[in-house]
């Protein structure tokens, strides 16, 4: 038996290799916690030989708020707003994960209208999230124009959310047994007007960035991750699909009304940064397609099946539910004792926490500039890593 506990200091003070060449020397560099590509506070310690990355030590925890501990003292409705603050670009989908788990465990029904609106909202948010990611990736790689274009679409979709939900970031929208608010009468028309515009935007993204030779040089064949390793490293979402594994919960275990719409699960071939970039662009097209199929036929009905102040007590046991967010599988694990209205243990399976660690496997041997491409292509949201 060998249990050995270590500290970060042990790693940082480990002896460095002797000079491998006369011209270079091994040294450690802190990238972050404040760094433009971290998009939050993520510290990454790089062990460098010259400009070549030899070893990557991610040090998360700068935004750790102990959400799981707090949730042990909250009712299931009170947990929903906390999930907004994990992956804030997938807030609605995170809400849905909790609602889905609680509904399944407590046998709370939903109706067609609720499911359809949930699906439309989730896909709009996926579009918003990917649009922002596209802009930010451009900025990370030196194309500041892209950032402004990405934010433009994000604002336009944000206005649609704001009109229905009243919030731009922390939605708190999907509740166990329904939705917080019903949609406004002109919601469908507004979304319908938006869709052709968004399609045009995606084409614009292609002409602005995809064809750029510098951009391609910085993404193609960089940070290759094959499908087998991707699964073993627990990554999900566009990162996994870019490595050629068609695993998408929307198709594999459909929830909402995903089983009633046609869409393709987009997969990459090589598994490099370029594939991770292009899979997301294609996913935006698929999201537009999904919304197009649903927006004309939103069924009538109530927007909630239970009262908001109804007490929810889950039966004793283990409950788990998961949804596909913009970044991968977001799961909610709840252990309930069957007596309390709070969980005795709640665990968030966050896509970013699991996706982060592949940098340790694929970044070695690349230059610092390539490391920027690799981290950018993972589309990490730091509060979701730290929880």
């Amino acid at each position: 038996m060998s249990v050995q506990v270590r500290t970060l200091d042990d790693l940082l003070h480990a002896p460095l290799d002797a000079d491998s060449e006369l011209t270079t020397q091994e040294y450690l560099v802190n990238m972050g916690p404040q760094h433009p590509i971290a998009h939050g506070s993520l510290r990454v310690v790089l062990r460098l030989d010259g400009e070549t990355v030899k070893h990557v030590i991610p040090v998360p925890g700068y935004v750790h708020r102990g959400v799981e501990k707090m949730c042990e003292h909250l009712t299931y409705r009170q947990i929903i707003p906390y999930t907004d603050r994990l992956d804030y670009l997938s807030a609605i989908m995170n809400n849905w994960a909790v609602a889905k788990t609680v509904e399944k465990a407590a046998n709370i029904p939903t109706n067609e209208r609720i499911d359809t609106i949930r699906t439309i909202m989730s896909e709009l948010q996926r579009l918003q999230s990917h649009a922002l990611w596209w802009g930010v990736t451009g900025m990370d790689l030196g194309a500041y124009t892209a950032f402004l274009y990405g934010f433009r679409e994000r604002e336009i979709i944000g206005e649609i959310f704001e009109e229905t939900i009243g919030a731009r970031l922390t939605m708190n929208y999907i509740q166990p047994g329904g939705l917080m608010y019903d949609i406004k009468p002109d919601f469908a028309q507004k979304v319908k007007n938006l869709l052709p515009y968004l399609k045009g935007c995606i084409e614009q993204y292609e002409t602005l960035l995809s064809g750029n030779v510098i951009f391609q040089e910085r993404l193609r064949n960089i940070g290759i991750l094959d499908g087998k390793h991707a699964i073993a490293l627990g990554c999900t979402g566009p990162v996994l699909r870019a490595s050629g594994v068609p695993y998408d919960l929307r198709a594999v275990e459909p929830y909402g009304v995903y089983d009633k719409v046609n869409f393709n699960v987009v997969v990459g071939e090589v598994g490099d940064c370029w594939d991770r970039y292009y899979v997301r662009l294609e996913e935006m097209r698929e999201s537009v397609r999904i919304v197009e199929q649903l927006i004309d036929n939103i069924p009538e009905g109530p927007h909630a099946t239970i009262r908001y102040n109804e007490e929810i007590i889950l039966p004793e046991g283990l409950h788990y539910g998961q949804v596909e967010t913009a970044r991968g599988v977001f799961g909610v694990f709840i252990a309930s004792d069957g007596k309390n209205k709070c969980p005795i243990r709640l665990h968030f399976r966050s896509p970013n926490f699991n996706n982060l660690w592949i940098v340790t496997a694929i970044a070695s041997g690349w230059r610092i500039a390539d490391f920027i491409s690799i981290q950018s292509s993972l589309d990490l949201v730091i509060p979701d890593i730290d929880r």
């Binding site: 038996m1 060998s2 249990v3 050995q4 506990v5 270590r6 500290t7 970060l8 200091d9 042990d10 790693l11 998360p60 925890g61 750790h64 102990g66 799981e68 501990k69 003292h73 399944k104 465990a105 390793h229 699964i231 073993a232 490293l233 627990g234 990554c235 999900t236 594994v245 068609p246 695993y247 998408d248 198709a251 594999v252 275990e253 459909p254 699960v265 039966p315 004793e316 046991g317 283990l318 409950h319 788990y320 998961q322 599988v329 799961g331 694990f333 252990a335 005795i344 243990r345 665990h347 399976r349 926490f353 699991n354 982060l356 660690w357 496997a361 730290d386 929880r387």
Partner: protein
């Protein structure tokens, strides 16, 4: 890959696992198949779950533990999925609270390295043969493990009863 639906129902899945490892029992009260494994057999059972042709649980979705302080034990929970067959399973095991040592799954699924680090950081579980067991979110000099039910620190407030 990416098959729609599940290739096996809960019953035949359980029967198959029990036929391969007779010490495995079903854990009641779960929304999908849950098995209880004696902690000494955990590594062997997990290896079978990963490698057996009809099981192929290749995705290590999540790992955490529940602090059952009245029973003086932790319940380890592993959530596994198969991207090939579409099946899902909980694997649980009990370890004592005094010496919470569990086998490490790093050799089977590399992602376990960091999920186990999180469990060590927040619950104080120790993993046998873990290559890099250190805290992941909290500082190295943090005292105690916050997700344990008996955790106290000077800044904690009690909930009004």
């Amino acid at each position: 890959m990416g098959a729609k639906g599940q290739s096996m129902d809960t019953k035949s899945l359980l029967a198959l696992v029990v036929s391969l490892h007779p010490t495995v029992q079903r854990r009641a009260n779960a929304d999908r198949l849950a098995i209880v494994v004696p902690v000494d057999d955990l590594l062997e059972v997990m290896k079978t779950l990963r490698d057996h042709q009809e099981l192929k649980f290749d995705l290590f979705v999540a790992h955490t533990a529940i602090d059952q302080i009245e029973a003086n034990r932790f319940e380890l929970v592993y959530i596994l999925s198969s991207t090939m067959h579409g099946n899902n399973i909980y694997v649980t095991a009990y370890i004592g609270r005094e010496n919470p040592v569990a086998p490490s799954m790093v050799a089977l699924w590399p992602i376990a390295e960091w999920q186990e680090r999180e469990a060590y950081d927040l619950l104080g579980l120790l993993y046998d043969n873990h290559p890099d067991l250190r805290r992941v979110f909290l500082e190295d000099d943090w005292i105690g493990f916050p997700l344990r039910k008996d955790y106290r620190d000077p800044y904690m407030l009690d909930l009004p009863k």
